[in-house]
């Protein structure tokens, strides 16, 4: 999200603050997901938990380039997108636990968090299912002249869904302000995408005349810079854009996916976790550029963990909705 520029600050200072803000957000998502994992394994969280750990730089880099009232749609792996767009930790956890204080009064759960206040049109448990919604929101923005853009986050698995190509066709025909962001973490559940995707991803969008590029999704500086440039272009009326962020999910498809050796190797996982961790990569850079020292980053980490812990407690203590509420909100 953009913040007002303080003229007394030097550009370098402002930039340093911006990277530190993004670092904090990545830490927050990381810590949120670790707590979700913990809640799930302690049987406090019902349902499914699809963790975003390893992919934090994408949500943060993209959402930092958006205005608060810009729209996003998200996926079953959506906690990171919701948080990066401005969701509060406590109401997020409450939703994960099915509590009334949650973003959707406990009716949505992990895979359906939505929040009009932060432009979040909703996470979606149908793979590729929100492509229409994001594109329709872009249509509204254009017709109502609101200057908003819509970002549609999806995984590489959604590249197999026809809906995506139907709406890309219309978005390109009608120059709609929508950005399709593919988080290519290589796997569709338990299948490598070399078995599910033909050809080249970026040229698929190019077939509709939609400009696209593939970037390193572990480098938040790269994601942010690219997204900012794309958002400006799309907001300016250039029509839709496509961005592939190459990434990796450090954990299983969901929390219960622990025996993974039949579809991916330990070595591969270790390589990504040790050499391609987006949080560590940004920390190393901040230190090498002398924008922060290790102690400052550690302090930030401790603060974030304390916030997360407080939010978890809030959610655990929060009451469930009354059973009589089951009939509420079916019709507006």
């Amino acid at each position: 999200m953009t913040t007002a520029v303080d003229p007394s600050k030097t550009q370098a200072q402002a930039e340093a603050e911006q990277w530190l803000r993004m670092y904090r957000q990545m830490l927050m998502i990381r810590s949120f997901e670790e707590s979700a994992n913990d809640l799930y394994t302690r049987a406090l969280m019902p349902g499914l938990a699809h963790l975003y750990i390893g992919e934090e730089a994408i949500a943060v880099g993209v959402c930092q380039s958006l205005n608060p009232n810009d729209y996003i749609t998200s996926t079953h792996r959506g906690h990171g997108h919701c948080l990066a767009k401005g969701a509060e930790l406590d109401r997020m956890f409450a939703e994960l636990l099915g509590k009334k204080a949650g973003y959707c009064k406990g009716k949505g759960g992990s895979m359906h968090i939505a929040d009009p206040e932060t432009g979040n049109l909703g996470a979606n448990a149908i793979v590729g299912g929100s492509a229409g919604i994001a594109t329709g929101a872009a249509l509204s923005a254009k017709r109502l002249k609101t200057n908003q853009v819509a970002v549609c986050f999806f995984g590489d698995g959604a590249m197999g869904q026809g809906l995506l190509y139907e709406v890309m066709n219309m978005a390109a025909l009608w120059k709609l302000p929508v950005i399709y962001v593919c988080e290519n973490n290589l796997y569709n559940e338990y299948t490598h995408n070399s078995e599910t995707l033909a050809g080249d991803m970026v040229t698929r969008a190019a077939g509709f005349g939609i400009p696209g590029e593939a970037i390193d999704g572990q480098d938040v500086r790269k994601v942010y810079a690219t997204a900012k440039e794309i958002v400006n272009r799309v907001r300016g009326g250039a029509g839709p854009a496509f961005l592939v962020c190459n990434t990796y999910r450090f954990h299983g498809h969901h929390v219960g996916d622990v025996k993974r050796d039949y579809y991916r190797s330990k070595e591969e996982e270790t390589m990504w976790k040790t050499q391609r961790d987006p949080v560590k990569m940004l920390a190393d850079w901040l230190i090498s550029e002398k924008l922060a020292d290790r102690a400052a980053l550690d302090k930030m980490h401790a603060e974030v963990e304390a916030e997360v812990k407080k939010a978890v407690k809030f959610a655990i203590d929060a009451p469930y909705p009354g059973v009589d509420e089951v009939h509420d909100d079916i019709y507006a």
Binding site: G102, L144, Y331
Partner: protein, 327 residues
Amino acid sequence: MPETRELTLGEAVREALAEEMRRDSTVFICGEDIAEAGTVFKVLSGLVDEFGPERVLDTPISEPGFTGMAVGAAMTGMRPVVDIMFGDFSTLVMDQMVNQAAKVHYMSGGKWKVPMVMRATLGASRRSAAQHSQSLHAWFCHIPGLKVVLPSTPYDAKGLMKTAIRDENPVVFFEDKMMYKLKGPVPPEDYTIPLGLADVKRKGDDVTIVATSSMVQVALGAATMLDAQGISAEVIDPRTLWPLDEETILESVKKTARAIVVDEGYFRYGATAEIASVIAEKCFFDLDWPVKRIGAMHVPIPFSPPLEDATVPTEQMVFDAARNMFE
């Protein structure tokens, strides 16, 4: 006496859409061949001249795509009306209607709303064969979060369409393609008909015939035949299958003690099953005869004219069913 005119059902739908588009600039229509062509049934002819191509939006042949976009547009300040050329193609948009449109309000704990209308045709007997002749409205009635409307007269079509557009929820609106030329009185002024209010199309004392869409005409024809036999039939059109006006139906059945339900959807697991079971559950002891259901034959709709005609309920079938109740 207020002024009144005769319009066809198609003209009544068009007038409702035009008036709502004039009234509210966020209403727009999208679908295939709807602008210059005015749809294959010409129902939307001329709208593009008044409202322009941005509000009468010709789309590619992408039913899931434009229906999904309507969901997103509805959530963000517009009131889209989606035109699905033939109701049979609604099968393509099931994810967008069932998993997206119908769920958004509930899953978001009431935070987002989806004020959209999906228009589609239903009905056999145009010799269009199995992929252009189905009546699939019962599918949508099965889904909480959707409302389902089936008008049977031009008057109802106009009033119900206006209500559907102003509703804050996704509404599925089925128009029988054999009824577009059906004429009836339609007042020129603005009026709406609430969703969930049945209409007694004909008063009677001896048997209640609950009929939907084009089956209302079939029921009225059967009622005339029954009159000649001294049997007085009451014909009730629920007008919306969901919400369903149980009260009007049950009141009538309590009076007549006999009920027939006629619908052009498939018989098995269909709209007739639901209405018949509501009657059986709620006024079993008022009944002098088991509830009779009449629906489309359970086959893919065949092309050959005598075969196709055999699949659709007829006046004779309704007459025979009623006669049988008085043997």
